[in-house]
Amino acid sequence: MGNVYVLGTGMIKFGRYPDKTVPELGAEAALIALKDAGITIKDVEMFASGNLYQSNAMIGQRILQQVGQTGIPVINVANACATGSTAFREVYMAVASGMYDIGMAVGVEQMGKQGLLGGGGGGSDPAYSTEGRLGSGLMPAVFGQAGMEHMRKYGTKLEHFAKISVKSHKHATKNPFSQYRNEVSLEDVMNARMVAYPNTLYMCCPTGDGAAAAILVSEDKLKQLAGGRKRARVAASILTSDPYTDRTLQLPDVSTLTRRAAQKAFETAGIGPKDISLTELHDCFATAELVHYENLGLCGDGEAGKFIDEGGGKHPDLGGKSPVNVSGGLLSKGHPLGATGVANICEVAWHLTGDERCKERQVPNAKAGMAHVIGLGSACTIHILTV
């Protein structure tokens, strides 16, 4: 497998775009990425589109109908919340294999003000719907219980989860691409409306719209096209699914597949958690972020509470260490499902290359970064980028 580099990136501000279509949002991000890379659509040899809610609607081709129909192979990817990062990985593999020199991945989603995700069952007669009668499959409760497992094992407190939300909101104030840019206090988070214990409103990510794009190139093409610009290498691109574990069929186990992916990613990249300058991880809920500190090796098992109390996850400018989700994370930046996985990788690439777009929140001296995504059902991707 050859070396693969991120030549160009594009992202639109996450938010709500009721007057635009999914292909339009995707095309906007794609055009920004092409400009950033300094190439045109005619240079792109393959294309992968990540979109979940219209995965039967040929979104990739419809993006190219707006950007340029050159007849290249297009893959439409759906993999729950890991949709965008899986599309990115398809392009990574296509370039790493040597079959193509330049590929593009776009992740895009339009969710509007869609409410709670998950739940259901019951078939044609709603009387047989299981939601709220046989427990909850809604995401706030599912991920709430992931936090409850930590609480059970280690005595973790509501305050620990709440502190994560305070941090993410603080980070988001420095990110113009973020859907929400308001600060919240610990009291605001703790006293906010409870959605599913221990997740209060501010510990749940919003729904919204967004798009992000990345252009990947082979080492030869990088030499031709980079023009002296610093570009990040994809040092690991890992995808796992959920192995059978006790209870996972009743309460999805988001930890085991993350741990497996992290181990493989560090082995592949030849580095360890201590070498990671910044992490963008899948904080769909504050409870998820806490358990992933341990799953990704940012701290030891049972130490996530202490990690948070000691400033773990905070931007160095705020006196923190091992910065996590300096973009604001899903909690503040937003979580347009298909866009999320590509956007996280863009964020990491920006810090590694000193990109203007992360100027206000630049992690100093960033050499390696990790982007983690979980799609419930389940899929986990981890990408490690290095410079």
Binding site: L116, G135, P140, Q145, G155, A196, Y197, L251
Partner: protein
């Protein structure tokens, strides 16, 4: 016509899922693989733990278990009364079940979550709706054990 008549006469309580049996007393059934793994299904093509395609046997499951974890749900689908407790219960056979935990104060549980972990619970059959034919739909739920 004959079929319609048959359906019309078969009124009465219906379990919410096929794994829930109302007779002789309400209980859950599972499908057990020869490797020992039990699935909350009435049939399996293969075991997702060991990959074996059989043999499988249907087993009756205990009506008593212990709470693994829970959450208190405050926002739900229209028509679902909140707050309520969603719970994962470990049964002694080594399989876990998800359902509602009833006959408990959800707010109290939030104030002292450690009280919920490991709590002994027992299965209870509760009517949760009437289906389109007017049959009561019966769900398996759990309540704190009375003994």
């Amino acid at each position: 016509m004959a079929e319609q008549q048959t359906q019309a006469t078969e009124t009465g309580p219906r379990p919410i899922l096929p794994i829930f049996k109302l007779q002789p007393t309400p209980h859950l059934v599972g499908t057990k693989c020869s490797c020992g793994t039990i699935f909350l299904d009435t049939k399996r093509l293969a075991c997702s733990k060991c990959g074996a395609t059989g043999p499988f046997q249907q087993v009756d499951l205990s009506t008593k278990g212990k709470v693994w974890v829970f959450s208190v749900v405050h926002q739900s689908f229209p028509g679902i009364k909140t707050p309520y407790v969603t719970v994962i219960v470990d049964l002694p056979e080594g399989v876990s079940v998800k359902s509602n935990l009833v006959d408990i104060d959800p707010e109290e549980l939030e104030k002292n979550p450690q009280k919920g972990f490991g709590m002994a619970v027992e299965l209870v059959a509760n009517e949760v709706a009437k289906d389109r034919q007017g049959n009561p739909v019966i769900a398996f739920q759990f309540r704190p054990s009375k003994n």
